[in-house]
């Protein structure tokens, strides 16, 4: 400072006071030097200021962004997926936390590798050699076991192994089912994949409602990545997923699964399905397929098992369709239950001769007898009497023209062709359920018109979404046939059980108070009907005050004789077994005098 002061011409004045400029300061050379100095200082200062302006103004947003990315982070606040309950509040699908075990080999001291491998192996069940190989590798990170249960994680935590960590993940868990290594209502519920997305069934159909919406929180972190809460965080709360209450009864579902598995195995069938519906509301009480799968282990399950035959497969309903044909004809006043026809055992329509199942001459029979004995000729006569137009319209009214719109993912439906596209012989076979495709939900909805007094109800699986009635369950019912027609059909279907082909479905105490219809339809293979069949039975009880409607379909039963694969032998006993379980479970008592 002193030097620069001298250089600048500052001198101590006589008074001895510092800083006073002597008379020499008025020297022009002095002023020039001062100006140069000032200019140089300003230049240097402007360089620094310019650089500061560059960094702080021009590069502000970039640097601010870089800084922010270093000390701030956005944390996702995941929404909890809604649970799924049955009609009695029993949980069917539950969220669980599972743990993925990972290892950082470079953090495991060489001397402790064996101990770590032993410990991890004992907790997870993985081979020791596999873990040792990982530890010997130069990788920084590797998963040892994914999605381990909490018990395994607890065992591992207790060991305090160096370089071994646990990563919590959410998993959907389902209850054990009615047959070994399956989960309850697996095909109906579907599952949630590792990305948290519902697949198949209810999980897929209600994905949006169940998943909710994730929230987020931007916060600050220290060098170690630990969150620091300083009060300036922005936070968007997650919207939790809505719980679903199904119309399913878990106890009946279990009984249905057991009976179905037993029936399919007993009849050496390829597969089978059962659907049970509340006749007045359309709520599905049970929904079972066999073979089915373990939804808790979906990753190791063949994809074709995920497809639900009830809703995704079409089948030819066979003689159960006669209920629709005769109900339509009755409603159009084309026939009456007691009206008689002559059935020689065959009929020729459009140049094609069609036969009864036994090809026998029945002589003069009533339409009640047609249903009791499941006679194809009688069904074609009913179609003939009401006319093709009315029959075609009836198919639409009974729900075969459109999908059922049930709230389960992946419904398949085969819309009816234009009426003109059907030949007479095709229309005739449709009268007894061959040459027409439907899924099981469409079929049970159509039959359910009878026990429900002539009205069709919307089939649905979910009763409540987040505590509120589901929209689909609020769909109003529609009149399909008159109540009188439904009552007449009810009597005819009771006669099927009492005197006809439904005898194998008779339940003690309810013999006179249950309605049903058998069905056996041949499967088309390469355009021709073969020996493989769909065996089915549809029924409801008590007929005086129906509590449930049930449809059983068994695919490709392979009993010793072809005749033993009929619906009344294969499907009706299964129906009976399930119905007995429901009677016991729901304490249904026979109505006195019936």
């Amino acid at each position: 400072m002193a030097l620069s002061a001298k250089a600048a011409g500052f001198r101590r004045g006589r008074s001895g006071e510092r800083g006073r400029i002597s008379a020499g300061s008025r020297d022009p050379s002095f002023r020039l030097r001062a100006l140069w100095l000032l200019a140089a200082a300003l230049l240097l200062a402007s360089l620094i200021w310019g650089r500061l302006v560059y960094w702080q103004v021009a590069q502000h947003s970039k640097l601010a962004g870089d800084a922010l990315s270093q000390y701030s982070k956005v944390i996702e606040l995941p929404a909890t997926r809604g649970m799924v309950y049955d009609r009695n509040g029993q949980p069917l699908a539950i969220n669980e936390v599972v743990y993925s075990v990972f290892i950082s080999p470079d953090q495991v001291p060489r001397a402790k590798r064996d101990a770590v491998a032993q410990g991890v192996s004992s907790a997870t069940g993985k081979p020791v050699e596999e873990i040792q190989a990982l530890l010997a590798s130069k990788s920084k990170f590797a998963y040892i076991a994914r999605r381990q249960p909490k018990a395994a994680a607890d065992r591992l935590k207790a060991l305090h192994l160096p370089g071994v960590g646990l990563e919590p993940e959410s998993q959907r868990s389902y209850l054990p089912g009615g047959s070994p290594n399956t989960t309850l209502a697996a095909n109906l519920l579907g599952f949630v994949n590792h990305q948290g997305i519902g697949q198949y069934g209810v999980e897929a159909f209600y994905q949006q409602e169940l998943a909710g919406r994730s929230g987020s929180m931007s916060t600050f972190q220290d060098l170690a990545g630990r969150e620091i809460i300083v009060g300036g965080e922005s936070r968007r709360e997650p919207v939790q997923g809505a719980d679903l209450q199904l119309t399913i009864d878990a106890n009946i579902q279990h009984a249905v699964e057991q009976a179905l598995a037993e029936g399919v195995i007993k009849n050496k069938a390829e597969s089978g399905s059962i659907i049970v519906m509340d006749p007045h509301t359309g709520g599905i009480i049970a929904w079972a397929d066999y073979p089915t799968y373990n939804a808790n282990d979906f990753a190791r399950t063949s994809v074709d098992k995920f497809i639900d035959p009830i809703v995704s497969h079409l089948y030819e309903p066979g003689s159960t369709m006669k209920v629709v044909t005769l109900a339509g004809a009755l409603d159009n006043h084309a026939i009456t239950p007691g009206m008689t026809i002559i059935d020689p055992g065959y009929i020729t329509v459009g140049g094609v001769t069609l036969h009864d199942w036994d090809r026998a001459n029945k002589g003069m029979i009533s339409f009640t007898k047609v249903l009791e004995s499941s006679l194809n000729v009688g069904a074609i006569r009913a179609l003939q009497m009401e006319g093709k137009d009315a029959f075609y319209r009836n198919l639409g009214k009974f729900g075969f023209a459109t999908p059922s719109r049930i709230d389960v993912a992946a419904e398949s439906a085969s819309p009816l062709r234009s009426q003109a596209d059907y030949r007479d012989s095709e229309m005739a076979t449709m009268a007894y359920g061959q040459g027409i495709n439907s899924n099981m939900v469409q079929m049970i909805s159509a039959i359910n018109v009878v026990p429900n007094g002539g009205r069709s109800v919307q089939p649905h699986v979910v009763e409540r979404v987040g505590g509120r009635p589901s929209l689909i369950s609020q769909t109003p019912s529609q009149v399909v046939v008159a109540p009188d027609t439904a009552a007449q059909m009810n009597e005819m279907m009771k006669a099927v059980v009492q005197r006809g082909s439904g005898h194998e479905a008779r339940i003690e105490g309810f013999q006179n108070d249950e309605g049903g219809k058998t069905g056996t339809s041949q499967m088309p293979i390469d355009g021709k009907y073969g020996l493989d069949v769909w065996s089915s039975y549809v029924g409801y009880m008590p007929a005086s005050d129906p509590r449930f409607t049930m449809l059983v379909v068994i695919r490709k039963p392979h009993n010793e004789s072809w005749i033993l694969n009929d619906g009344y032998i294969v499907a009706a006993p299964i129906w009976k077994k399930v119905a007995q379980s429901i009677v016991l479970q729901w304490h249904i008592a026979p109505t006195p005098g019936r």
Partner: protein, 191 residues
């Protein structure tokens, strides 16, 4: 106690410079001291009495020198910085604690979910059936319904009285009670 650092300090006099005239004392002296000073030629030091400190009321700017004020400012800034740092450290510690508690909450929620699944599994029909099978419990198959016989009610003929199973001694006691109290409700009320 004098708090003004200016008191007692004089500016350094340059050599050869004339002694400056004594400045008018800025302090306000008590009236008696001034009067004493006026009438006496030789001043006595003892006569110049300063007022007690508590009576001196100086403006803030005059109480501290420039350096004093700077020290105060620096001290205040330092205090503020320390206070901020203390609070920031406390907040950071608290946030670590919050993080730890959140992790603990997460573990408890996981535990709760696990227990919920356990409970649901235990209540599941499959589990109940397995437990029942272990204790040799089976479903009642085949079952039978007992037909309800509705005999109807005829009001003209009263139904047969069921046999009286009351012990004799009680009946005897009741008859005595009826005689004494004159009411049939005596025993009934006691039942």
């Amino acid at each position: 106690m004098v708090t003004n650092p200016n008191i007692g300090l004089r500016p350094a006099r340059p050599r050869g410079a004339a002694r400056p005239e004594p400045a008018e004392p800025r302090l306000r002296l008590p009236a008696r001291a001034v009067l004493r000073g006026q009438g006496i030629r030789h001043r006595r030091r003892a006569q110049l009495r300063l007022a007690p400190a508590r009576s001196i009321r100086l403006p803030f700017r005059q109480r501290f020198s420039d350096f004093g004020r700077m020290y105060l400012l620096i001290a205040a800034v330092l205090g503020g910085v320390l206070l901020y740092l203390g609070q920031a450290a406390g907040a950071t510690q608290a946030s670590y604690e919050i993080g730890r508690l959140q992790a603990q909450q997460g573990e408890l929620v996981a535990e709760q979910d696990h227990l919920r699944y356990e409970e649901a599994s235990i209540k599941s029909p499959a589990r109940i059936e397995a437990e029942a099978a272990q204790t040799n419990l089976v479903r009642p198959q085949p079952y039978k319904y007992v037909q309800f016989q509705d005999a109807g009610v005829v009001l003209d003929s009263p139904p047969p009285r069921p046999p009286d199973l009351t012990p004799r001694w009680e009946r005897a006691l009741a008859s005595v009670g009826r005689r004494v109290l004159g009411s049939q409700d005596a025993l009934a009320a006691g039942r």
